[in-house]
């Protein structure tokens, strides 16, 4: 099948492949999370048994009844207003597993495996990204699947929109204020820094314009938006995209571990990756990898950031076209409204609609679970499969030259400084709820 097929047919094989990989990874994720819960429950049962010093295990029926009784008590206390948090339904071992535990007094190796996998953060996100990257760079991705695998990446976006059902405008404004400051200082700052450094080091305007927009604000989307404005050559464009992808890939696989090593809370990590990772898909993947609260914060920063694309384009027009024309004695004008209309990322309007519907009380807790946790995972899984399958080392090798050094230094500087700032600002400022 080739491009001549046209239409959507050429995308189908790759999309189906991503859906299958996504489903397999979610199946894996469901299993390890269940085993981890079984592990924690088994540990609790064994501790209680040890505390009773040799008293026999309860029968399964007694164990289930006791758990239910405790839950009912906690629920009653919550309903009386004595506790703030609604208790969760207890996780019970299956009868067969309980009997095995009672007999052997040892935690099943399957449960320990689940616990270990979660400790190493090998959730569906890691499996899809690492698995996809390994497939792409070892056995390769046949041409038949390539258009669909590229098309799968934006399927992350409906997930971003659905996540809007989790926010209230007050949350959005609270975190949004910090997001605006971070975006303005770091993202716009990097764009300006790369542009000026490029001029100082006498680099080509086209290349540095694309690199400035790409490293500053939103990776490939911003590079695409700015490329025609600054008359970037194809070679420049691929150098810049190569640099952006290389930095994003390194960040994606290292930031979650750096975050853990630095003891970052989930909201702080979300703020960090939202500021420091250059590409929406990669930052959403890294934040999801870290935890749901991290994703909630990273999503706000990302929404603010992509909303800035038209402003960066206007800056690039001013810096590379208007300023230059003025210096040469010519007069050029920007139609700002036209730029905003053309370059504004439409999908973020969907996110704002979801926030408004939530504010109006349209969604119940069940709806929020369906949209913001369950279906979000489905969309993310298909999208992450596409992201993993599109990490080709050959593309990353396209990054090169002085421009690569400037871009990489600017992106690294932004990552280090933003890490310091978000840690200093602290968890509460970035916590969504």
């Amino acid at each position: 099948m080739t491009d001549t097929n046209g239409g959507i047919v050429k995308y189908i094989p790759g999309l189906i492949l991503c859906m299958i990989l996504g489903w397999m990874a979610l199946q894996w994720d469901q299993s390890i999370h269940k085993w981890q819960k079984d592990y924690q429950e088994s540990e609790k049962i064994l501790k209680a048994y040890d505390a009773k010093e040799g008293q026999p295990f309860l029968s399964f029926a007694e164990y289930a009844a006791k758990s239910e009784e405790k839950y009912t008590e906690k629920l009653a206390a919550f309903e009386r207003g004595e506790t703030k948090e609604k208790p969760k339904k207890p996780h019970l071992l299956k009868e067969k597993d309980y009997v095995t535990l009672a007999t052997t007094k040892e935690i099943s190796s399957k449960f320990s495996f689940g616990e270990r996998m979660i400790q190493f953060q090998l959730t569906y996100v890691a499996v899809l990204l690492l698995g996809g990257m390994i497939i792409r760079n070892t056995i390769g991705l046949p041409k038949l699947f390539q258009p669909g695998a590229v098309m799968a990446r934006p399927i992350i976006k409906p997930g971003i929109i659905l996540l809007g059902g989790y926010y209230l405008w007050s949350n959005l404004l609270k975190v949004g204020v910090f997001a605006l400051i971070l975006v303005f200082i770091f993202i716009f700052g990097t764009t300006v820094l790369v542009a000026f450094l490029g001029r100082r080091l006498k680099q080509d305007d086209g290349l540095m314009g694309v690199m400035a927009a790409g490293t500053g604000i939103c990776g490939v989307s911003a590079a695409v938006a700015v490329a025609p404005v600054v008359n970037a050559k194809p070679r420049d464009f691929f150098y810049a995209v190569g640099t952006i992808l290389l930095f994003g890939t390194v960040a994606l696989f290292t930031f979650p571990y750096i975050g853990k090593a630095l003891g970052m809370s989930e909201p702080v990590f979300g703020a960090w990756v939202g500021t420091a990772i250059l590409n929406t898909a990669q930052l959403v993947a890294a934040a999801t990898w870290y935890g749901h609260d991290s994703l909630l914060t990273a999503n706000i920063i990302n929404i603010v950031r992509v909303g800035f694309i038209p402003i960066v384009v206007i800056f690039c027009i001013w810096f590379y076209v208007i300023k230059q024309a003025t210096a040469e004695g010519r007069h050029e004008k920007i139609n700002k409204w036209q730029v905003i209309k053309e370059k504004f990322p439409l999908f973020i309007l969907g996110f704002f609609v979801m926030v408004t519907l939530n504010e109006l009380g349209v969604f119940t807790d069940e709806h929020r679970t369906i949209f913001g946790k369950q279906f979000l995972q489905i969309f993310f899984a298909v999208g992450f499969a596409g992201v993993g399958l599109n990490i080709a080392f050959d593309d990353l090798k396209k990054a090169g030259g002085k421009a690569f050094v400037i871009g990489f230094i600017a992106a690294t500087l932004k990552a280090v400084l933003s890490a310091i700032v978000v840690i200093l600002i602290g968890t509460e400022a970035f916590r969504v709820k």
């Binding site: 199946q27 409906p158 695409v224 194809p234 464009f237 679970t369 949209f371 969309f379």
Partner: protein
């Protein structure tokens, strides 16, 4: 020069594809929300997809 012009056209095409992509994304999210609000998708739907 011809190469640059060709590239500009390509970049414009990519951007218009991103616009179309955003519209599809909005449609997909809207369908999910409508199905959820209508009760066609319930909290049991997702677990039922797995073993």
């Amino acid at each position: 020069m011809a190469e640059t012009k060709e590239f500009e056209e390509k970049a414009k095409k990519v951007f218009s594809a991103e616009r179309k992509e955003d519209i599809w994304v909005l449609v997909l999210a809207a369908i999910t929300v409508i199905l959820g609000l209508a009760g066609v998708i319930t909290p049991k739907t997702f677990p039922s997809l797995f073993f």
